[in-house]
């Protein structure tokens, strides 16, 4: 479990992280979502004691990262920035990490196999592709078999096969009861892996909610209708008490209903309908709405 309490980070006059509080619970993938520059990486680095917070505190299973004995066995992390020596082999990179936290040598081979890097273990990290570097970073995070894992933009630079691998890995780690905290600026990626979302924009916490609730909060599900007689259709819908809105492209958007009901109404009133589509809640819309609001709020409120 990761507990973040009123965490802040100031760089000069910029408040990169502004009094953020949240809890990342075990047993599920928690997505850390926000546009680039929202303060996600800074927050992760403060959780891991790499950056010193201006205010607030962080607890990983009840202790600050610095106080964890053999921290790699308690928390593993993949950070966005490169952390490899180009001239050192993948095996030796993992070996020094393992030795520092008294992790047995056999575990180095294990994580190399897990990350699909067995064949290139002796190769210098400088010759690795971006995808292989990312896999090595993930191997390093898993080295101590830790109950808490943090991944900063893990799918960056991975090929489709690698992306799939990460998704399954994250879900598998959470299913084993671990705390899995994954940052991303891609909401579509989070929609596929995360069960819970923490949304950050401009250093502020915007949402701490399940993926389902988050999507519903942003855009209500509605039925899109195209008809040659939109005016008459509006009247019919209004008579039924259904909220309706005309979209920019002329289509009608009807809330609180289902396509079947629209079909019945059209038949009853002899209306021609060329399209009825159910539009479910979109995470993208929810995200854009939420982050857009925050920009306005900050612009006007300060």
């Amino acid at each position: 479990m990761i507990e973040v309490e009123n965490l802040s980070k100031r760089y000069g006059n910029t408040l990169a992280v502004d009094g953020v509080s949240f809890t990342v619970r075990p047993g599920r993938v928690t997505g850390f979502l926000g546009p680039n520059g929202a303060g996600k990486s800074t927050t992760m680095r403060m959780i891991l004691d790499l950056d010193r917070p201006t205010g607030g505190r962080v607890r990983i299973d009840g202790r600050s990262y610095r106080e964890l004995p053999d921290p790699l066995r308690r928390a593993g992390a993949l950070l966005e920035a490169k952390a490899l020596h180009n001239r050192r082999s993948a095996y030796h990179h993992l070996l020094w990490l393992a030795q520092s936290n008294r992790i047995p040598k056999s575990r180095v081979r294990e994580v190399l196999r897990l990350a699909g890097l067995e064949g290139v273990a002796g190769k210098r990290a400088g010759r690795f592709s971006l995808g292989m570097t990312q896999r090595l970073g993930i191997a390093a995070a898993l080295l101590g078999d830790p109950p808490v894992l943090l991944f900063d933009e893990p799918v960056n630079g991975l090929d489709p096969e690698g992306v799939l691998w990460i998704r399954n890995l994250l879900k598998g780690l959470a299913a084993e009861g671990r705390t899995v905290f994954v940052s991303s600026h891609l909401i579509s990626e989070m929609a596929l892996t995360a069960g819970h979302l923490i949304v950050l924009a401009r250093g502020r916490l915007l949402a701490d909610t399940s993926v389902q609730e988050f999507a519903e909060s942003g855009a209500r599900p509605h039925v899109r209708i195209r008809t040659p007689e939109p005016e008459r259709m509006r009247d019919v819908l209004a008579a039924e008490g259904l909220p309706v809105k005309q979209a920019d492209d002329g289509a009608l958007e009807v809330y609180d209903t289902a396509p079947e009901r629209i079909g019945q109404l059209a038949l009853a009133h002899g209306l021609v309908v060329s399209e009825t589509t159910l539009r479910s809640a979109s995470l993208e819309e929810a995200f854009m709405r939420l982050t857009g609001d925050s920009v306005e709020y900050r612009g006007g409120g300060r």
Binding site: P71, H92, W96, N101
Partner: protein, 259 residues
Amino acid sequence: MTVTAILRSEWTKIRTVPSTVWTLLLTFALSVGLGYLLANSMGDSYATASPERRATLDPLFATFYSLTLGQLPLVVFGVLVVGGEYGSGTIRASLLAVPRRGRFYGGKLLAGTALAFPVSVITVLATFFVATSAFGPDAPSLRDEGVPSAVVGACLYLTLICLFAMGVATMLRSPTRSLGILLPLLFLGSQGLGNVPGVKAFTQYLPDQAGMLIMHIVGPQDDPRWARDYGPWTGMGILALWTIAALLGGHLVLRRRDA
């Protein structure tokens, strides 16, 4: 997180990067090789020199002068041990593995010194014996006055200058910036500027100039152009103070700055 675990890990870091290994080998090869050549040619001119001329020549100068060059790869080693972490970005991985800055820094300095010290001792002893045998019959012997302290001083000097480099690299957080300051300081700055009478009052207190006095390689002390305002062990003390200052500065920067 025990000290042995940190040391073992730091040792693996050093030995698995070719450049650090090369710098240590080069320290030895340069010091001994150049020591042989210098002592060989100076020994010849010493043998044929008049007694008056002999009085101005110092056989120990010929023995240890090669260390002024041999120290450079050792300084590069010190810079790479710490600065290499910043250059490559492994500093973040290192601090995730050992988040307590003091322990990390201490482990690093200890591992670096555990290599630099024996390499210094072996280099100094090999240089001394190779150079003295190349110098000829008038070579300095360990029984001569000032020679044992020159040998011990040379070992201390190399170890301290390597530690100094590690401290500077921790403060500057970059191998290129550190070498950009240290190499001119050690190679051009004090060697060249030391001869200018006006600035000697200042340059004699630079770390290398102070520490080298004990090895008889800063010039004859009865010549006012070279004479220092302090004795050989005080000079070593001055170098030790520089080293402590650089190490403390590095510690402060490591604690304060974000990784």
